[in-house]
């Protein structure tokens, strides 16, 4: 997993609530057996027109979105399916962080597992951020994971919460499976004591 320390980037401001995993990555793309290449299908049904050409009205296709690695989304981001293909497609497109007032549980956990940082923001800050990025699209946002802070300017900045363990994994680029495997002895003990 790629390490995450400090990220400064333009922001794709997408003011839609309840963006579900079927929109992030429609089911027909889940038949692939590879882990990479899902960025092409991100928001596919909104992003492309019927003839397959890019929808000029969709924000990801706007020039100022190119190179952005932060997504600012509406409430309840990532609701629906457990498909990890959803954070895969976001990361493959180029995002490394998503800001929202709330995340669906499974999406939140899946994102952390692969190094996509979900940052929970207050409703008030959500409104201010959308106002800022919609009026000045070239503004950038900095996320400082060690300090657990995001900043646009002196007057627009906040602390964010993250479980210390998830934070450490991101900072060090550690895959959680390595950590789990270190419990081999305890797992074996559990199995013996539970007649497994």
């Amino acid at each position: 997993m790629q390490k995450f320390q400090v990220l400064n980037s333009p922001v794709v401001a997408f003011p839609i609530n309840d963006i579900d995993t079927d929109q992030i990555i429609p089911a027909r793309f889940l038949k692939r057996i590879q882990k990479d290449g899902f960025g092409e299908f991100l928001f596919s049904d909104w992003r492309y027109l019927e003839d397959g050409s890019p929808n000029p009205d969709f924000i990801l296709n706007h020039p100022q979105s190119q190179g952005a690695s932060i997504l600012l989304a509406g409430d309840n981001f990532g609701c629906g399916s457990s498909r990890e293909h959803a954070p895969w497609s976001l990361m493959d497109w180029g995002f490394r962080a998503v800001l929202s007032t709330s995340f669906a549980d499974i999406f939140y956990n899946n994102a952390l597992k692969i190094g996509l940082l979900p940052v929970q923001i207050s409703p008030e800050n959500s409104r201010k951020l959308f106002q800022t990025f919609q009026s000045s699209p070239n503004t950038t946002l900095t996320i400082n994971l060690p300090l657990q802070e995001w900043t646009v300017s002196e007057s627009l900045s906040s602390h964010f919460e993250i479980h210390p363990f998830a934070k450490q994994c991101l900072l060090d680029g550690i895959d959680q499976l390595t950590f789990l495997l270190s419990f081999e002895k305890k797992i074996a003990e559990y199995e013996v004591s539970h007649g497994s």
Binding site: D22, K31, D45, S81, P87, I187
Partner: protein, 471 residues
Amino acid sequence: MSQPQTLFDKIWERHIVSQQPEFPTVLYIDLHLVHEVTSPQAFSGLSDRGFAVRRPEKTFATMDHAIPTLPRSLPVEDEQAAAQLERLENNCREHGIEVFGMDSDRNGIVHVIGPELGLTQPGQTIVCGDSHTSTHGAFGSLAFGIGTSEVEHVLATQCLLQSKPKSFEVLFEGTLPEGVTAKDMILAFIQKAGVGGGSGYVIEYRGAAIEQLDMESRMTICNMSIEAGARAGIIAPDEKTFSYLKGRPFAPSGEAWDAAVEDWKTLPTDEGAQFDKSFNIDVSTLEPMITFGTNPGMGMPIIGTIPELNHGLPAEKRDSLEKALKYMGLEAGQPLIDKKVDVIFLGSCTNSRMNDLRAAASILKGKRISPEVRMLVVPGSQTIKRQAEEEGLAKIFMDAGAEWRESGCSMCIAMNGDQLKPGQYCISTSNRNFEGRQGQGGRTFLASPLTAAASALTGKVTDVRNIYASG
């Protein structure tokens, strides 16, 4: 004297391998269910690192999401789906995992066959790379969906890192009126709680109205817990649970059965146990439900009218509703009764079990569906398919003009060619009505099997209670 515990507390505690304040809990997983869509990259990850599956005998696989529901003798035409199915077959063979493949008479939707085979048992921790894993909570197990990375974790270690969710008590009291089913109960709850209302919680469904439900209805309720954002949904095991499981292929038997039942009887929530939040619903006030929008929370009684845009809704809810109605081609303030529909889908891990088919068949018996609709009936498993054929239900559906299919997820997720054309309206007994869920541009109305069957007769959104009234 120890603190009174909830059912959830008890299961959680029993499965702790390691608990330290600075890390999530290491939780042991009793049963790992696998299907073809969320497992390939997990198995590849495992082989890349040279690991074996730790407990293949606790791992069971099925093929359900992308398989065609056409006759099994036909080849799978979709090359990607065929490759994915073959990959699962190979992975299972390599690791010694039992797989109920397309030619197995035990094949079916993962959350249908788990209980059917007696794999799902009270007090267990059960995971699967699928959000409707919450279904198994109907048996008093802690069952939840996981992503592909976590599938890999469980394959390698039989454990997961989990922070303990909070607990949410949902009390259903009263007596269900005629024509109102478990599907309507859960749609009503999601409408009231919202699609994020259960986020961060494990819901325990309790109360007289839950105790009255049979196991299949309890599965319908727990299945849709995820649509309220909950981590899992759970119902205490009781005599109905034990009776359902007794004699099933993977259930304990003989002395082991007796010992298991004694243990299971200790699981229900203790008197005086505390929940982090609580919600009450009187089911006697419920009516058949239908969704009108593009998430399962956008629902209403079938005889209701779609909410007005300016009725005190906060700005962002108004925007969401407006967007949903635009996609659905509906107007605020409009009723849905008598709305013409194009397709009826009876299937999915929510409602494709025997009682769902029996309920629909009771409405369709001796009648013909409207010539203006296409109806697909997809049994949840091969076992259900056989039983429905023996009971004459399949004949009722076919005589009525519906298509009787092989088992699979089918039009719930529309990965296998069973899908809506753009703009088509479908009354579906499945669990999600997101934009494009059942096919790009497809428009889903979620409802119960009774509502689906009643509407199939008329070709329009229909209140099943009118069918009862007219006899």
